[in-house]
């Protein structure tokens, strides 16, 4: 299945499109798209690009493991969890705009 990820404009933080249409740092909250959701997925990517607030918008492969969304590629795992050595936490969204209302991308 697929998830959609990007970097948020102000913080550069890695974010994921969530089920309620927000862009948040937690990959566990990412909305998943199956093969039948291709149109919705592509529309979401297009909307994210059009919003101008999200950069490097990408479709990534993911799996559900123990009920949680886990990215398939190592690169994406590192993006989701932060540098591995030494371990650093990922960048956070921390501005009202980035956390806020207009970060919704309508599906």
């Amino acid at each position: 299945m697929d998830i959609i990820t990007a970097n948020e404009l102000l913080s550069g933080a890695t974010v994921y499109l969530t089920v309620d249409g927000k862009w948040l740092e937690e990959v566990s909250k990412a909305q998943t798209f199956g093969p039948e959701d291709k149109a919705a997925r592509d529309a979401a990517v297009e909307a994210a690009n059009a919003s101008g607030r999200y950069l490097s918008v990408e479709i990534e492969k993911a799996e559900i493991i123990d009920g949680r969304v886990v990215p398939t590629r190592l690169r994406e795992k590192i993006r989701a969890e932060g540098p591995t050595s030494p371990r650093h936490t990922p960048q956070t969204l921390d501005t009202p705009h980035a956390k806020g209302e207009d970060s919704n991308v309508s599906l």
């Binding site: 102000l10 913080s11 550069g12 933080a13 101008g52 190592l74 993006r79 540098p83 050595s85």
Partner: protein
């Protein structure tokens, strides 16, 4: 050190203000990302895996204490308390926020720093020998010419959109510590027919996807005509360099495809036409710039030598530090001290704000306020009196940066790799750390002697793996990190590209693989004086291949 003149200061201020406005317009939505990206890249701002990354230029690797303190402040105030020194003698901050970048650039401008020429298809920040202006073997201090090249290249309207990026390195010593033969243009000081000093010019070197050793294009150019000659090369490249294929756009490909003789003829033709034009460098101008780089007012030192054999018994760690981390200075009683940014198990090239401030203090107290960044990701205090060595060493012990390992197996070059870099195919830092830990024992490192390991997290080769005596390239094989080992590379004046030994191996197996190569070398070397690279040249790659993969 060079001080900005009014023009430099005004230009950097203007660029900073322009960029602040561009950021404002990006955030307000007036500029979209396609419009903004080239603007941010022209100001050193990249987007990496986790965040933006700001690459700050350290022209020809020269810093003052004040500048290093400012970098520490920026790391603390706007980043996560550390910075990463790179193989381009620059420093990168990994976590800046877009809104803060104009403030960072303004604070950098206050100490005559910027992030220009660290990205894009322009002439990049000029690099040089980290011991420039201090080394005993130097024919000439290359920094005045490096500064003149900086001034010529910074705003050059004709060369802002070259087919690809363009890197120039310059060394004033016969022992090449700046890897000049792996740059688009490499300059090496040379004494001319009448005893005057000038430059041998190499062109078309590079690493990356297609590593190539530069070819000599001219045996000698005097100072006066150097800029015109460089301009001639750039013109030929700008005209004939390929713009249809990014992977074939560097000058090395042009030189390779057209042949050095053809390129030389074209350059000479251009050069003849402009040789005595406006790019002719008047001696007064060279003298004016050279004056900025005058040697400091050395003091009369009491101590002229060090009793190393005795020290090896009484204080072996300090003895190791002296043996490995000091470099001969042209002035009696002085040395250049390498501050190894490679503590055992640490991230190569990373420095915390506290470490940067402490090193800045040491430079202020003991090295006439001067510092250098080496392309091997270490810092250098260029002018330290032997009388002060103990104090410098103790200052470094306090910040855990007193490892006496310069040039040894744990002095590893490593790019950021997949922990940070958007282009990476595998991680580099954990590999560097695991090798460093495996060979942490000082006696073992000493037994092995000079050995340069260089690691890149993708084919772009920012970690210079092609020119490592042992090189490691991280690749992605069907979603799994895989590391290709090369042996026999050399970035020095005996430039060579390493040979790939065979199929890639898993990351966990890399330290053991390195050990096999090292053990083979120790077994086969003629004496402890025969270095790893010398032994490789004598033995060839076959025994190393066999050590790693067995007989097949």
């Amino acid at each position: 050190m060079y001080r900005y003149d009014e023009f430099d200061a005004a230009f950097v201020r203007q660029r900073t203000e322009q960029f602040a406005d561009q950021v404002r317009r990006r955030i307000s939505g007036e500029l979209n990302e396609d419009q903004f990206r080239p603007l941010r890249l022209m100001n050193g701002l990249y987007l990496q895996l986790h965040a933006y990354m700001l690459r700050v230029a350290v022209p020809y690797g020269t810093l003052s204490s004040k500048q290093l303190r400012r970098l520490a402040e920026i790391a603390r105030k706007y980043d996560r308390g550390y910075g990463h020194f790179t193989t381009r003698q620059n420093i990168q901050f990994n976590w800046p926020r877009l809104n803060d970048v104009p403030k960072i650039l303004a604070e950098l401008a206050d100490v005559e720093m910027h992030a220009i020429q660290t990205s894009g298809n322009c002439i990049r920040n000029v690099t040089t020998d980290q011991f420039a202006g201090a080394a005993a073997d130097e024919i000439i201090d290359p920094r005045p010419i490096a500064e003149i090249i900086r001034q010529w290249s910074s705003l050059h309207p004709e060369f802002t959109f070259l087919p690809r990026k363009f890197k120039i390195a310059i060394t004033g010593a016969p022992q090449d510590r700046a890897a000049v033969k792996f740059h688009d243009i490499g300059l090496m000081a040379k004494t001319g027919p009448n005893g005057e000093i000038g430059w041998t010019v190499y062109v078309g070197g590079g690493l990356g996807r297609t590593p190539m050793v530069a070819k000599q294009i001219r045996d000698f150019v005097d100072h006066e005509h150097l800029l015109a000659y460089l301009e001639a090369i750039l013109r030929v490249y700008n005209r004939y360099g390929r713009r249809d294929n990014k992977y074939k756009a560097r000058i090395k490909i042009l030189v390779h495809e057209a042949g050095i003789d053809t390129i030389r003829d074209q350059v000479e033709e251009e050069f003849a036409a402009m040789k005595d034009g406006i790019l002719k460098l008047p001696q007064e101008e060279l003298d004016r710039i050279t004056a900025y780089f005058a040697a400091p007012a050395f003091k009369e030192v009491e101590q002229k030598t060090i009793d190393l054999p005795k020290l090896k018994i009484t204080d072996p760690a300090f003895a190791r530090f002296i043996e490995r981390n000091t470099h001969p200075h042209f002035r009696d009683g002085y040395v250049s001290v390498t501050v190894s940014m490679k503590p055992i198990g640490g991230t190569p090239g990373d420095a915390t704000d506290i470490q940067m401030e402490a090193i800045a203090d040491l430079a202020e107290k003991y090295s006439f306020d001067e510092l250098r960044v080496s392309h091997e990701q270490n810092l250098v205090l260029p002018h330290v009196a032997l009388d002060d060595l103990r104090a410098v060493y103790e200052g470094l012990v306090d910040i855990d940066l007193a490892e006496g390992n310069t040039g040894l197996i744990t002095d590893i070059i490593s790019c950021p790799g997949l922990d940070y870099c958007a282009l990476a195919t595998a991680r580099s830092i954990p590999i560097a750390k695991s090798i460093s830990q495996k060979f942490s024992a000082p006696e073992r490192q000493e037994q092995i002697g000079d050995l340069k390991i260089k690691i890149s997290g993708c084919i772009n080769a920012c970690g210079h793996h092609h020119v490592g005596h042992i090189g490691i390239l991280g690749l992605d094989r069907k979603g799994v990190e895989n590391y290709q080992i090369t042996v026999g590379g050399d970035a020095s004046e005996d430039a060579a590209v390493g040979s790939i030994l065979g199929a890639g191996i898993a990351g966990d197996d890399v330290p053991d693989a390195i050990e096999k190569l090292v053990d083979l070398y120790i077994e086969k070397r003629e004496s402890a004086d025969e270095t790893f690279i010398a032994a490789f040249r004598r033995l060839g790659e076959a025994p190393f291949k066999e050590a790693l993969y067995g007989t097949r």
